[in-house]
């Protein structure tokens, strides 16, 4: 479990990194290293070059932009969990971070690394999916924006070509009073989830005026449950409504692995959808009571 020889590069700026990406071949970017280093030790990946982007300051920041929040690709899980901006404008993301791995891994692991690694059970893609995130991809020759739902190109395959890197992620924020829910089932605390659901709801009085619902752990990439969202909008929360919404969980292929079958994951996803909705609705009720 030792990697073969590779060359290590540590650019100080984004331009320098993009230049390296343009000139070198057989490259891997090193972000938090929490997934890449084990894969290299197992010799699952054997890049000739490593570009360590930890020194690029501007990639490590979280900013409020006009109608959203912008994450540098190197923002750490723990940073997102504790950021004032996140807690204020997209608290679902902070709540989701509670479920990502363990403290040591959250201190190193990054949003960009998680998105580029694209584990089907990762929390980030689902959290970003309900927030309609846009991912900025850059190379020396230009840049492009990829909507989160077009990010996955297959099992652990992001929408990136060799000389490109992910640099920032922008999420749309919801009205101040919006509520959220996040539920997942993992075998142990901090494990990748067998299945999970992220929910955002907004209300007009007692009526759901807007809903966003995404799953993790059941498909290769993040998926939104549009049917269920449509079902919810215009309705008043009830056990029956949530149960019906949960039944709208549609999974095409599904993930089958040593821990669970696709059909189990689908069942659990449905349960998690209901629980996430219940959390959100509960939040709304507490808000109404407090007002």
């Amino acid at each position: 479990m030792k990697p073969p020889v590779f060359e290590y590069h540590r650019p100080e700026s984004l331009d320098e990194a993009l230049e390296l990406l343009a000139t070198l071949s057989d490259v891997k970017i090193l972000a938090g290293g929490q997934s890449l280093m084990p894969m290299m030790n197992f010799r699952y990946v054997m890049p000739a070059h490593i570009i360590d982007i930890n020194r690029i300051k501007e990639l490590g920041e979280i900013h409020r932009v006009h109608d959203g929040v912008k994450f540098g690709a190197m923002a750490r899980h723990d940073q997102a969990k504790k950021s004032e901006i996140i807690l204020e404008h997209c608290p679902l993301i902070a709540a989701g971070m509670e479920h990502v791995a363990h403290a040591q891994i959250r201190n190193r692991g990054t949003i960009g690394g998680s998105l580029a690694h694209l584990d089907p059970s990762a929390e980030w893609p689902a959290l970003l999916a309900v927030h309609d995130a846009t991912l900025r991809v850059q190379s020396k020759s230009g840049e492009r924006d990829v909507p989160i739902l077009e990010w996955s190109q297959g099992f652990m395959t992001p929408n990136l070509v060799e000389d490109e890197m992910l640099t920032e992620i922008t999420v749309a924020i919801w009205p101040e009073k919006h509520v959220y829910g996040f539920a997942e089932l993992a075998r142990r605390k901090g494990d990748f989830a067998l299945a999970g659901a992220a929910v955002l709801l907004d209300f007009d009085g007692e009526v759901i005026s807007r809903a966003a619902l995404a799953l993790l752990g059941v498909e290769v990439g993040p998926i939104r449950m549009i049917d269920a969202e449509n079902l919810l909008v215009g309705e008043i929360p009830s056990d029956e409504l949530f149960r019906e919404a949960a039944e709208h969980v549609t999974v095409v292929a599904g993930i089958d692995d040593v821990h669970a079958s696709a059909s189990y994951r689908k069942k659990v996803a449905s349960v998690m959808v209901r629980r996430a909705l219940e959390q959100a609705s509960h939040q709304h009720k507490s808000q109404a009571l407090a007002a």
Partner: protein, 775 residues
């Protein structure tokens, strides 16, 4: 104040907590080289050729060894069967490096020695092996069938041992009993998974023709013995030293093939060679305990009295049987447990498969036996409409029947005799601690909130402290400090503390002035090892005997030195003194110096040279520990996720030398059992390719999975040894699986779910719940 019986702080901890422990991998000898193993990617194949030429061209590669190279170094490359038994019909053992055939994924084929592990692994990729894949004996339930592929090409079938353990008239009991229940249990136990993987380093001194091993071994004297035997040399030409060990749990007790190729490399290169197993290798090449399939029938009369038990055990032995059939043997003899059982029969079949060998992991087949018996008890309770705890209590062997001849005959031909214990009383303590009697109300309240909680109970009896012996070599230096060498080695149990506690009282010396060193074959000439909950009984009593003898030597010499009667002497605070006359005293250092003698002067009559004693303790039979555990779990019936909420242990390991370390052993044991009940699963596909080879795939319990474990102890001393101690290393694990699974079943009683397997994962549990809901 007596040190024995007090929860003295562990003397080994400060160093470990500061990260200053010395593990094998922390030892860097000058000129050290690193080894890596080329291992088989096939479960069963013939090796047609091995081409090492391009690997040898790599800069920094020093040596590559194959079986043929070892054949020059050893009288044979085939390892001996460590625990032979005439019942074994196919006594197959591995070669140090594979000879022509490989029989499990992970079997070592070649050893590569290089400047560092990086280079060694680069070289591994350049070795070209031409394999001819052979049919594979995969799942043991298939492998036992008549026309199954065989695990070794030259055998007719895979059955390597068959035997029956029985007493009483089973046929008659089952012909007449009014209540008979049957079940089948699949049980899987994964592997040992110590934090430190296997570790070894060999260094050879040409001048003295002497080889030293540094090895993370639970059984250093075995390594010395086998190495000397296979080299055809004297055992004084080998020394095995055991540095700190990061856990063993049974798996490090084995004399693995890797020791011999590493030693050969060190000799051939005249340089120290270290081999650190990596985690992936640990999954495939360190022995497992793995799979068993049990069938069971239990018979009761109308009053709930246990009448008989019979069944079969199919045991997956793996590709080789280096440790014989110990695990299934122990399993079959553990089933009767704490119960008055008039008739018993267990037919055991051991089957070879193309997977790494099965040898004991903490519990050594006992957890599976307890699971089988305790699940049957639960079934009976359910069917007879009895409370599971009360049904058990009714059937325990009462204390006044101790010593109790259980009915089976032990390996050595003697009847298995439970020597001591009060099972009903120990049970009562656990019941009280768990507030069992009010559980039904709590369960009802939880159900009204839609929560499903359940309680499970399991009892066990464990033979501990088997012989043949363990030794202790105690010496008081002229500094007044005491050194204790003992034969076995420590893997984190706290030997340094508890053995010092034993000597401290005898010698009147502070724990701080006693150094305890285990696992150095030069420090104690003979030894067996730390496993099977035997160190405290064997080595502990050896320390006791040796310190008693040294105490007598001190008194004798002091009596001469101070011209006072021996009967008037006592020892305390590092001195020997005349009782009531504090001025008349000598430090132990002064006495030691005196008996070390002066050149040319004869020692006074009766005084022996040196304050030193080497003593062996040889128990006549096992000392039987026992206990009753209870677990409370909650099941999420929509997902099948089960969590252990609370846990209670009632435990009797005889006299506790250090209650804190005993509790630590039980706690760790429970964690191990919890892993076996809910998480740990070494999975292979049907071609015996391992599919769980990292800790993302093979799940160990985390701290967050552990409930608070409350413990209560009963101390009924064993008459088998002077200290009255019984082993405590495995008792925490043995009933835990049964208690936890029983609790899950109890939580799901409203659905009528029955569980006949371990471990149980959320997907499987959900399947059982859905099935039960349909019916």
């Amino acid at each position: 104040m007596s040190s024995f019986g007090s929860s003295a702080k562990r003397v080994e901890d400060p160093v470990l907590l500061r990260g200053e422990g010395k593990f094998t991998d922390d030892i860097h000898l000058p000129g050290l080289l690193t080894a890596a193993m080329l291992r088989s990617p096939y479960a069963h194949a013939r090796i047609k050729s091995i081409d090492t030429s391009t690997a040898l061209e790599l800069d920094g590669v020093h040596l590559i060894l194959k079986n043929a190279d070892l054949a020059l170094e050893y009288t044979t490359t085939e390892l001996p069967l460590m625990v032979p038994n005439p019942l074994i019909t196919k006594p197959v053992t591995p070669h140090m490096l594979a000879k022509d055939y490989v029989r499990y994924v992970g079997e070592p084929i070649a050893l590569i020695v290089a400047e560092d592990r990086y280079i060694a692994e680069d070289a591994l990729e350049r070795v070209i092996v031409d394999y001819e894949p052979l049919p594979v004996a995969g799942d043991f339930r298939e492998a036992v069938k008549r026309n199954a592929a065989t695990a070794h090409h030259e055998i007719e079938d895979n059955v390597c041992a068959e035997f029956v353990q029985a007493f009483g008239n089973v046929d008659e009991v089952f012909a007449n009993a009014p209540h008979i229940y049957k079940n089948t249990f699949f049980q899987h136990r994964g592997a040992a998974h110590p934090l430190e993987t296997r570790a070894m380093m060999a260094t050879y001194d040409e001048l003295s023709d002497h080889l030293t091993f540094y090895a993370a071994s639970q059984s250093p004297h075995r390594v010395r013995e086998i190495y000397a035997k296979l080299r055809g040399i004297d055992d004084n030409q080998v020394r095995v030293v055991v540095p700190d060990i990061g856990g063993g749990f049974g798996a490090k007790g084995q004399t693995y093939p890797e020791y011999f190729s590493v030693a050969a490399a060190a000799r051939l290169l005249r340089r120290p060679v270290k081999y650190m197993e990596d985690r992936r290798e640990n999954f495939t090449a360190t022995h497992h305990e793995r799979d068993q399939l049990w069938t069971a029938e239990i018979a009761f009369n109308d009053d709930g009295k246990l009448l008989g038990f019979r069944g079969t055990l199919l045991h997956d032995s793996g590709a080789y049987v280096p440790w014989g059939i110990i695990t299934p043997y122990i399993a079959a003899s553990t089933v009767p447990g704490p119960y008055l059982l008039p008739a018993y029969e267990m037919k055991v079949t051991c089957v070879l498969t193309n997977k790494v060998a099965v040898t004991p992991v903490r519990g050594a087949g006992r957890p599976q036996a307890a699971f089988t018996m305790e699940r049957m008890m639960d079934t009976a309770a359910l069917e007879l409409g009895r409370d599971p705890a009360s049904l058990r209590r009714q059937n325990y062997i009462p204390a006044d029947q101790m010593p109790y001849k259980m009915g089976l005959i032990f390996r050595d031909g003697s009847p298995i005799t439970y020597d001591s214990g009060d099972y009903p009383a120990c049970h009562d303590k656990a019941i009280e601690l768990s507030e069992y009697d009010s559980f039904k109300e709590r369960q009802k309240a939880a159900r009204s909130e839609g929560r499903f909680i359940g309680i499970g109970i399991a009892s066990y009896v464990e033979g501990t402290g088997l012989g043949p012996f363990e030794g202790a070599n105690i010496r008081v230096a002229p500094s007044g400090k005491v050194t204790i060498h003992y034969g076995a080695s420590a893997q984190g149990q706290g030997h340094q503390t508890v053995f010092a506690q034993i000597a401290s009282d005898q010698l009147g010396v502070d724990l701080a002035d006693i150094t305890v060193i285990g696992g150095d074959t030069q420090g104690c000439p003979y030894g067996i090892g730390t496993f099977a909950s035997r160190a405290i009984v064997n080595a502990g009593n050896a320390v006791h005997q040796a310190s008693e003898a040294v105490r007598q030597k001190i008194i004798k010499a002091a009596s001469y030195m101070m011209e006072a009667a021996e009967e008037d002497m006592d020892l305390a605070e590092g001195s020997v003194f005349v009782k009531g006359v504090p001025k008349m005293s000598r430090t132990l250092g002064e006495v030691a110096e005196f008996v070390n003698g002066k050149p040319g002067f004869t020692l006074p009559g009766g005084i022996e040279p040196g304050l030193q004693e080497l003593s062996y303790f040889t128990p006549k039979q096992a000392a039987y520990a026992n206990g009753t555990h209870l677990a409370e779990v909650e099941v999420d019936v929509e997902t099948g996720y089960a969590k252990v909420l609370r846990y209670w242990s009632g435990h009797d390991c005889g006299k506790m030398i250090n209650p804190m370390t005993v509790e630590g052993q039980v706690l760790g044991g429970v964690a191990h059992g919890l892993g076996n009940a809910l998480f740990e699963w070494m999975r292979y596909d049907e071609n015996a390719q391992p599919v769980t080879v990292n800790y993302g795939e093979y799940l160990l319990p985390l701290a967050s999975d552990m409930p608070h474990v409350q413990q209560v102890h009963q101390e009924i001393p064993t008459p088998q040894n002077p200290l009255g101690v019984k082993g405590a290393g495995e008792g925490g694990t043995i009933p835990a699986i049964a208690a936890i699974i029983g609790a899950i079943e109890n939580a799901l009683k409203p659905f009528g779910v029955r569980i006949s397997e371990a471990p149980i994962t959320p997907p499987r549990l959900l399947e059982l719940i859905e099935c039960a809901r349909k019916n």
